[in-house]
Amino acid sequence: MSNWHDTMMLSNLISKSLTFVVLTVGVTGMALAATGETGSFANVVESVQPKIVKIYGSGGLQGLEAYQSGLLISAEGHILTAWSYVLDAEEYIHAVLDDGSRHEVKLLAHDPRLEIAILKIEATGLPHFQLAEAVELHPGDRVLAFSNLFGIAVGDESASVLHGTVSTITQLTARRGAFQSVYHGPVYVLDAMTNNPGAAGGVLTDRQGRLAGLLGKELRNSLDNTWLNFAIPISALNPSVQDLLAGRNPPRRTDETAKKPANPHTLTALGLVLVPNVLAKTPPYVDRVRPASPAAAAGLRPDDLILFVNERMVSSCKDLIEELSFIDRLDPVQLTVQRGQELVNVELKAP
């Protein structure tokens, strides 16, 4: 009986060893196969390039380039990119894919807190990244950064590829005035030179070409005048991307079942005066705050830009007024405003 027991233990041990050996050889073999005998990333690069987008839009004035990068996230042509001045005027945005095809672009949605935007082109069957399959990186991991930095690639020329490693993972500092960024969440800090014009919205992958992050915008630490190479982990962006794609938290006016209360909030009652509504879509900037009003009590200030009302995005004065009309006067109103480079949440209560 003990013989048989020993045999079982031995065979267990052997099968475990075999598994270990197979795994080690397998993993090494896989890594070598992906990079080839010379260690070149050429095959990996080739598999990623078709998913990279060159985006052109507003800008072209001194210091502000009119181009940036993006990635395809669906076969029908949804593109994830950075939210920036390049996307200011929708009618001027166009996208060029890796095959050189040029497409008109619709600005589908954006999240000003994460500084990302979703664009849409008309297409089918496009190669794309699956955001849900994005990988998490660790300090020391080798990375590749794909983008059209300096606008070098035109037409059917492929985006540029840089190599590097993840130096550290940290929160983008929230210290006032240090980094002029609205996003203060986790970032991959890199030693790849991604802090260059046109790189924003580009792609960070691991050495096997698996999606890991979105290249950040050019960011300078005003305290010590250093520029940061960084990317935002996809996991920090994906929930918002899914919300944007699904159109969740749309304006109340689009909900046919929503009922307007008899006594809703109004700007006057709240003590809020917006800038004059002269454009088709005037951004809802605060012009004045009446003293001793709910707005004053909540700490709102002139030049605040109102972004969200009760978690619903408002892009214009008209949207804001409409959204308020769905909220009963007795209920509190949550506002998210952009004050300079910071996001501030306030709550307004009825007097």
Partner: protein, 604 residues
């Protein structure tokens, strides 16, 4: 028991598997053997490559750039913008710690390439030339050079990175330096790296570094550097060896993308060879020099790699029909402008005077690099450069250098042109010499398969009997008015020139020059080309390097006319010399005649 034995055997077998093929322990804190081998291979490749790299200095050690030796007798490559400030004489440091004298050979200002020659050895370590068309984005590569002039001990700096882009186009940025079809890398290219080598992972030379994209941080590397591809340089090498200042090619037409996305001719010079070959406004350009044309940039990339004078195939389409032809590429710059712009290495002052030797600082900004200065950026504390006294006066040349530099308009160094002319003529002379055959020459035979023909060539009389005509010209009068027989482009004057060159040789023929190496339609490889001006025409002689045979004579009455082309073949021994027994004469797009020579009479 049996079961245990079997299992034990399996265990040993597995253990054997782990132990071989790499005999090393596989444990957690030691890298796998494959990694150690890759590291050794990389170290060996760098070791080999570094030996060929150069630090290029003005005589005395000022200034700075990089270079790389490409042949054991000392020929080396660098950038035009590194070599032009140094003048014709410079000094190069190698990793053996020694400083070598060097002289300029040839220059390509538009493409930013310079060929120089190191002196003193016939066994310089030389780089192996790679094939830049095989390079792929994502391949590892490394730069070697003298960035920030750090190599005070002449040990170059090495920076590793990947190829970020291939077939990149970088337009002339305020100067004339155009980087077409170049390689982009994130291996560090900094001021001082200019002119130095870009190697692939195996240590083969794939590019010459020279530019970068700079922006808010001033002129330090931010991950984007550019190298001229070695395949472009290979096309220019023969021309650079000629000692000339070499111009780039133009098609004589421009292209643009039309509303259907096709690349079409948007403008064409009627005086261009492309027009004579049939290309017209609105034609769709399908391929250029065997590369498909899909974008305007792609066309500029292809075109930008060619020297003036190359003849390349093009395919174009009009009304649904494709046409294929060969086009002679003229120079980008009008000849007069080109000559005056680059008569000799310019004495124009650099934008910032160079720092004196003992205060090592950054290299002066070079033309072609984007310059962006952020006014808020804290400036590094560099010593202020002190201008040299009278920076425009060239330093006197050492005695041993003087014979190796010969100035002449249009040449970087005419000395090497003379050497090449001698080389080519010597190889041709192995077929026999005609220098004693100064009398009347008579050739006779059949043409186009049957009809008889004969030609008489002399100093005072040139005549020929052809199937359709009997013609005579006066060799002492201007040739461009005597292009006979009709529709041949001037066969009689062409053969008169041929006789003159064979008797007199390039030394006495008249104004001769070695042009470089150029392809010959229907012939593999490239040919050495000599050019000679005589009477009022220019003739180009193409020689086959392996055999020395003269394969083609092209006589150009002027720049805007097709030449008379005489192809020489079937060299056979006659009276102690090898002479061609088949002459194929072409003019424009037609073959004028296939002449077979049955009889030679060369008068003394």
């Amino acid at each position: 028991m049996t079961r245990i034995c079997v299992l034990l055997m399996i265990a040993f077998a597995v253990g054997g598997l782990i132990a071989s093929p790499h005999s090393g322990r596989v444990c957690a804190d030691e890298p796998p053997p494959a990694v150690l081998q890759a590291e050794q291979a990389r170290i060996a490749a760098i070791d080999r490559a570094v030996r060929a790299a150069l630090a290029v200095f003005e005589p005395g050690g000022n200034g700075g750039g990089s270079g790389v030796v490409i042949s054991a007798d000392g020929y080396a490559l660098s950038n035009f913008h590194v070599v032009s400030p140094t003048g014709a004489y410079m000094q190069c440091g190698m990793s053996d710690g020694r400083l070598y004298d060097a002289v300029v050979v040839g220059l390509d200002p538009t493409g930013d390439v310079a060929l120089i020659k190191l002196l003193g050895r016939e066994d310089f370590p030389a780089a192996e030339l790679g094939d830049s068309d095989q390079v792929r984005v994502g391949d590892w590569c490394f730069t070697v050079g003298n960035p920030f002039l750090l190599a005070t001990d002449l040990q170059p700096s090495v920076a590793y990175g990947i190829v970020s882009g291939v077939h990149r186009y970088q337009p002339p940025a305020g100067t004339m330096l155009e980087y077409a079809d170049c390689l982009q890398t994130d291996a560090a290219i900094n001021p001082g790296n200019s002119g130095g080598p870009l190697f692939d992972a195996q240590g083969r030379l794939i590019g010459i570094n020279g530019r970068g994209s700079f922006e808010k941080r001033g002129r330090v590397n931010v991950g984007v550097g550019y190298a001229i591809s070695i395949n472009q340089i290979k096309k220019f090498l023969g021309c650079l060896h000629s000692g000339r200042i070499v111009d780039h090619a133009t098609l004589g037409a421009t292209v643009a993308k039309d509303e259907n996305g096709r690349i079409v001719v948007s403008n064409i010079l009627e005086s261009s060879d492309a027009y004579r070959r049939g290309l017209r406004y609105g034609d769709q350009l399908l391929s250029f020099a065997d590369r498909p044309v899909t974008t305007v940039n792609g066309f500029k990339n292809s075109l930008g790699t060619f020297p003036r004078g190359w003849r390349v195939p093009i395919t174009y389409r009009r009304d649904g029909t494709s046409h294929q032809t060969y086009v002679r590429l003229a120079g980008v710059h009008p000849r007069e402008e080109f000559l005056t712009k680059f008569t000799k290495p310019p004495t124009m002052p650099p934008e910032i005077p160079p720092a004196p030797k003992k205060e090592r600082g950054k290299e002066a900004p070079q033309p072609g690099d984007d310059q962006g200065q952020d006014p808020d950026k804290p400036r590094p504390h560099l010593p202020l450069p002190v201008p040299r006294p009278n920076p425009h006066a060239p330093a006197p040349l050492p005695e041993h250098i003087k014979p190796l530099i010969e100035e002449r308009p249009g040449y970087a160094n005419y000395y090497f042109n003379r050497q090449q002319q001698d080389r080519v003529w010597k190889a041709f002379s192995t077929l026999g010499s005609c220098q004693d055959a100064k009398g009347i020459w008579k050739l006779a035979g059949t043409v186009n398969g049957g009809a008889p023909w004969e030609i008489t060539l002399g100093d005072e009389e040139v005549a020929g009997q052809f199937p359709a005509s009997r013609d005579r010209i006066d060799p002492r009068a201007d040739f461009d008015g005597q292009l006979l027989p009709a529709r041949s482009g001037g066969l009689l004057p062409a053969l008169s020139i041929w006789r003159r060159m064979l008797i007199l040789g390039p030394q006495q023929f008249g104004e001769t020059s070695y042009l470089g190496t150029f392809p010959l339609v229907g012939h593999p490889g490239v040919c050495d080309v000599l050019t000679g001006a005589y009477n009022v025409v220019e003739a180009q002689f193409s020689f086959d390097p392996p055999t020395g045979e003269l394969l083609l004579l092209e006589m150009y009455p002027d720049n805007n006319t097709d030449p008379c082309e005489v192809y020489f073949g079937d060299y056979k021994e006659v009276g102690g010399r090898k002479l061609p027994h088949r002459l194929t004469v072409r003019f424009g797009d037609a073959v004028y005649g296939e002449f077979v020579v049955d009889r030679y009479e060369l008068g003394q």
